[in-house]
């Protein structure tokens, strides 16, 4: 019933000068700049020294791709990278599927009792300290290992899936909430069965949210150290736990090179997520 033309746009414009805005506070620009420096400055030496020709991560001895080549040629790095990708692919795929269903269940149904509780359950991994989840999983999986004798990669995938779900869920739910439910009503009105309406209307329109959720889950899984460290069996290092292990020994710029490569992948994926989820006008 709301008249889309009757919003008070004009009135807001007149009062704009008097509105409170953080941006007009003194020192805003400096504070913002300091925050960005604190966040991103430490990355620059790391990236810089990944191109060092020498063996030090603190003394510059000229430019070279040497450490990238060394990392690329390192069989161990190759192994752990592949393991990381396998875990991330499986975990993000399963998590995204479950998150999609959960998002549909929490936005496309009549409001039901205990809905808030459901949100809490889904987002639990964001709130419980990772180390607690990690220890809990360690104990739980140990019991299963004893009972079944299975020690494969499934434990890692299951653990990653669990903490990836909220990261996949949030963008998908945001997308669904921003989607006019009248569109689904219109599809039903035009003789689409519930399944056809989902496949032809809901799914294509929520696809950017699903892709964004999957990418976010992928990045989160790829980066994880704490839970992986606790859950992995011997010889099941992923890239981050391998890097952590390397840091305990002699440090070479190879670590910088691997980190920089990971950083590059993350930036690319996050940029893609930004473009997928931003509102089109």
């Amino acid at each position: 019933m709301a008249d889309p033309l009757s919003t008070g746009v004009g009135g807001a414009g007149e009062r704009r000068a008097k509105r409170f805005s953080v941006q007009t506070m003194p020192g805003f620009t400096i504070m913002a700049a300091l925050c960005f420096i604190a966040l991103y400055a430490p990355l620059f030496p790391m990236v810089f020294y990944s191109f060092n020709a020498g063996e030090s991560i603190a003394v510059w001895q000229g430019f070279s791709w040497r450490w990238y080549e060394s990392a690329w040629g390192n069989e161990l790095v190759k192994d752990v990278t592949i393991r990381s990708l396998v875990v991330a692919c499986f975990a993000s795929a399963i998590a995204t599927t479950l998150a999609t269903l959960a998002a549909l269940g929490t936005t496309r149904t009549e409001a039901f009792k205990g809905q808030t509780f459901i949100y809490v359950i889904i987002n639990q991994p964001l709130m419980v300290p990772e180390i607690v989840t990690g220890v809990a999983l360690l104990v739980f999986f140990a019991m299963i290992k004893v009972a079944t004798g299975y020690t494969g990669l499934a434990y890692l995938i299951a653990a990653h899936t669990a903490f990836c779900i909220p990261f996949a869920y949030l963008p998908i739910r945001a997308r669904l909430e921003g989607m006019d439910k009248t569109l689904e009503a219109a599809a039903a009105d035009l003789y689409a069965t519930p399944f056809q309406a989902f496949r032809r209307i809901t799914l294509p329109l929520m696809a950017p949210g699903i892709v964004a959720g999957a990418m976010l889950a992928f990045v989160i899984s790829l980066d994880d150290v704490v839970i992986t460290e606790l859950v992995k069996a011997a010889g099941q290092d992923t890239l981050p736990t391998y890097m952590l292990g390397q840091l305990r020994r002699a440090i070479t710029p190879e670590i910088n090179a691997i980190s920089t490569a990971l950083l590059a992948i993350t930036v690319v994926l996050l940029t893609a997520i930004f473009f997928l989820t931003r509102k089109k006008e």
């Binding site: 019933m1 009248t182 039903a188 009105d189 035009l190 003789y191 689409a192 329109l205």
Partner: protein
């Protein structure tokens, strides 16, 4: 329902209650109405009157708490929206943003499993009908509001529904476009021969487009009739007040014979008017007189006229006509709307005492 097959839609004793307990909202309260074949039927009322709920019940988005809904004689109350030969033009248009104009229009036919070439043919025919041939391949986000409106219409008409439902489809358009679309809708209804059920809160829209209008308030239908019936013979004060401008006058029934009552107006002479069915034949009543029915009196009134006396308080010039706001001898307010047509009628000035003549047929007794 024995005669239901003659009507496009029969709504029989339908109630719709949302929520329960303290939060119970009775959106529709035992509503019955019949809509004829090929009719342009309008549900008119203020927001919250239940008109949209009734439309949603017809579309199948809601199901009645009680009562039955027949479409061409078949009970459809239990069917989901996709199994009703009824299509809707939504207030927000609800065009599919990821599909082109052509794909939007063809969607219904495709879902009905029509062969590709038939879908294509119909889509082209519909585009022609709403004069949008050039925009078939466009995205719906790349066309203007008025064009989106036409696509929404074409999409709903393409499957040739038995009834087309329109939920305030013109409310988002600007004034000029709205006028244009009013004529367009009327033309489409004539050309397609489909029964249109139109929901609006705009009384002018209802009067200009409809064959019949149902005026609704608080989940009830107050009156159903042609625009002329509704305007000239409002049954209740709410209807008279909601549609057009009205003067309400107090009167007392003197006597009744053959359904006609002799009335003494507080503000003037006696007059005569038809008494609505089921009304007490004595006591005080309210009558309504439309402002344009009044004329200023110089000499004696005609045989079928009654006279009111009062004083002009304010004169408002409107170009085509002038509104005279008066206080009558009884203290009641009265507005006379006089055409500015240079017919040499006397134009009273502010503060002057005047006599106003009203034709007897223009006096309508209200039920409440």
């Amino acid at each position: 329902m024995t005669d239901s097959a003659d009507n496009a839609v029969d709504v029989v004793g339908v109630s719709k209650i949302f929520g329960s307990g303290d939060q119970e909202v009775r959106a529709l309260d035992d509503v019955s109405v019949s809509i004829r074949q090929n009719e342009f039927f309008t549900l008119l009322g203020p927001s919250g009157c239940g008109k949209t709920t009734l439309l949603r019940l017809l579309a199948g988005f809601e199901h009645p708490t009680r009562g039955q809904i027949f479409l061409n004689g078949k009970d459809i109350a239990g069917l989901p929206p996709n199994r009703r030969p009824v299509n809707t033009v939504f207030q927000s248009y609800a065009l599919f943003p990821h599909l082109t104009v052509g794909q939007n229009i063809g969607f219904g036919l495709e879902m009905l499993g029509k062969p590709k070439d038939e879908v294509e043919d119909t889509v082209d025919r519909m585009l022609k009908l709403v004069r949008m041939e050039a925009l078939k391949k466009r995205r719906t986000s790349q066309i203007s509001g008025g064009q989106q409106q036409r696509v929404a219409l074409a999409r709903a008409l393409a499957p040739h529904p038995e009834v087309l439902l329109l939920d305030e489809p013109l409310s988002a358009l600007d004034f000029k476009l709205r006028k244009e679309m009013q004529l367009e809708l009327k033309r489409l209804q004539n050309e397609t021969g489909i029964t249109f059920i139109f929901v609006t809160h705009d009384q002018e829209e209802a009067l200009t487009m409809s064959d019949r209008v149902a005026v609704m308030r608080d989940g009830n239908i107050l009156q159903v009739g042609s625009p002329r019936d509704i305007y000239d013979r409002p049954a209740e004060r709410f209807v008279a007040d909601f549609i057009g401008d009205s003067n309400f006058l107090r009167a007392v029934i003197k006597d009744v014979s053959g359904g006609r009552a002799r009335l003494a107006l507080d503000a003037g002479m006696e007059t005569e008017a038809e008494l609505p069915d089921g009304m007490a034949e004595s006591g005080a009543v309210t009558v309504v007189v439309r402002p344009e029915q009044a004329r200023f009196l110089d000499g004696e009134p005609g045989a079928r006229e009654t006279v009111l006396e009062g004083r002009v308080e304010t004169v408002v010039y409107f170009g085509t006509d002038t509104h005279y706001h008066m206080t009558l001898s009884s203290g009641e307010r009265f507005i006379a709307r006089i055409q500015n047509d240079d017919r040499g009628e006397r134009a009273p000035e502010q503060g002057s005492a005047v006599r106003v003549a009203i034709p007897t047929r223009a006096v309508q007794v209200l039920k409440d």
